[in-house]
Symmetry: C2
Subunit: 230 residues, 2 copies
DNA sequence: AAAAGCGTAGTCACTTAGTGACACCACGGC
DNA sequence: GCCGTGGTGTCACTAAGTGACTACGCTTTT
């Protein structure tokens, strides 16, 4: 089913991958296919959508779909990952003296998401709301959370002034992203079922609370001055 | 690829499922197949093992394998889940006044694992050490961690004296199991690569430290008396 | 400007993963 | 004895996923 490396494509040159802005042609192509896959999954369900359907909708050959993705379900990963990165990427610029909420809200005000981003986030939320019932989809969602966890590691390391390979750092990144996952799932199901609606601010506050509760490390708040301890 | 429900089999009657001791004939059969699958995966690698191979090794028809499991990779889930439950199931009896480490170590001394359990744990560890490289296996591992999270919910609820559907409870269960996952992965790779060895006590202490660090809630220690706050 | 080099997509034949339908026990109740 | 009921095997089939090769576009070289 899977040869060895993750998602065939990118193995060749490991080119740039800016993580933030656009630019990677291959990543864009994968993203386009992913968007069509998600749309189809939401419209007719995962099992009623074939690889051929996805290929046809995206206007590429079936072979290309399997070159891009290691399985049908993993087609959703770029979409979900992109939504996650829209939160995590800005945090690489998060100044040490700012709180989680203050920084993120200010940043969103300064660099507002594009309409495309918002549409993608809506699709992602729809998908996340399905994750409880569709095991294959859940596996992909958890994989994306794992990627998010990796992307969050340097943020935590900087906040704690610790090297990225420190155990405390990976632990904190893992628990924080677990908290973020639970919040996202909760938000997705309540939003999709119409129980309530959320503003960006609501979500940021929920995330902040959850991440604070998820670790004894002070990653969300200004770092205490070392001088007091020395 | 997947019809709708998780792992075809058990849908019919949702019979007992004792979670602890043996007894379920179907679960035992699934476990036996799972054990053979894990052995083969470890011996020759996942992609070099086919569904037919697993069926042949387990002495059942291929059709039965697909009835038991929704995919080749998910064959490993019963083995991994059983290892996880050997930690979580006892915790349902965890008295409120005992610390995590004290209770678990005492319990393991009283009810020592069978040789079969120990062998299964060794296989599981071998498998967990592979999850970093094999994405399909990683997805299954994360699914098992999700099941463990669900199983941990009632334990947390009891410790916090909160209903099982409280958000704080699912949050804590999620972050605690994320911590446990990171510890298990670390232990698995260092143990398998021979960097160091672990006793049960080592693992329990590592888990305790990690879970304590993973949540602001006092789930690992005796619950503070409410009377002081009232 | 032609040629060579390279990276990516398409085509098609092929293997393996996974499902549906039905026959066949083994078991327990009556 | 007969009748459900639940689990398994057989077989035919669909869908997922791979290998090998071709063809196109783009850059670099001469």
């Amino acid at each position: 089913m899977v040869k060895s490396s993750g998602d065939g494509a990118g193995a060749k040159k490991a080119r740039s991958r800016p993580l933030d802005g656009a630019g990677d042609r291959l990543a864009d192509a994968r993203m386009a296919v992913s968007r069509h896959a998600v749309t189809l999954f939401l419209a007719r369900g995962v099992s009623a959508t074939s690889g051929d359907d996805i290929a046809a909708a995206a206007g590429v050959s079936t072979r290309t779909v399997w070159r891009y993705f290691r399985s049908k379900e993993s087609c959703v990963e770029p979409m979900l990952a992109a939504s996650a990165y829209r939160f995590i990427a800005p945090l690489r610029r998060w100044p040490l003296h700012a709180t989680f909420e203050d920084f993120l809200l200010e940043d969103f005000a300064e660099v507002p998401p594009t309409p495309q981003d918002l549409a993608d986030d809506a699709l992602s939320m729809g998908l996340i709301s399905l994750v409880r019932d569709e095991p294959a989809l859940r596996a992909s969602w958890l994989m994306v959370c794992g990627q998010a966890e990796q992307a969050f590691v340097p943020v935590v390391a900087r906040r704690l002034d610790l090297p990225v390979d420190e155990f405390r750092v990976s632990l904190s990144a893992a628990t924080a992203m677990a908290a973020a996952r639970v919040v996202h799932e909760e938000v997705a199901v309540t939003a999709v079922t119409g129980v309530r609606t959320y503003t960006v601010e609501d979500v940021v506050r929920l995330l902040g609370k959850a991440i604070r509760a998820s670790t004894a490390e002070p990653i969300c708040d200004p770092r205490p001055r070392r001088a007091f301890l020395a």
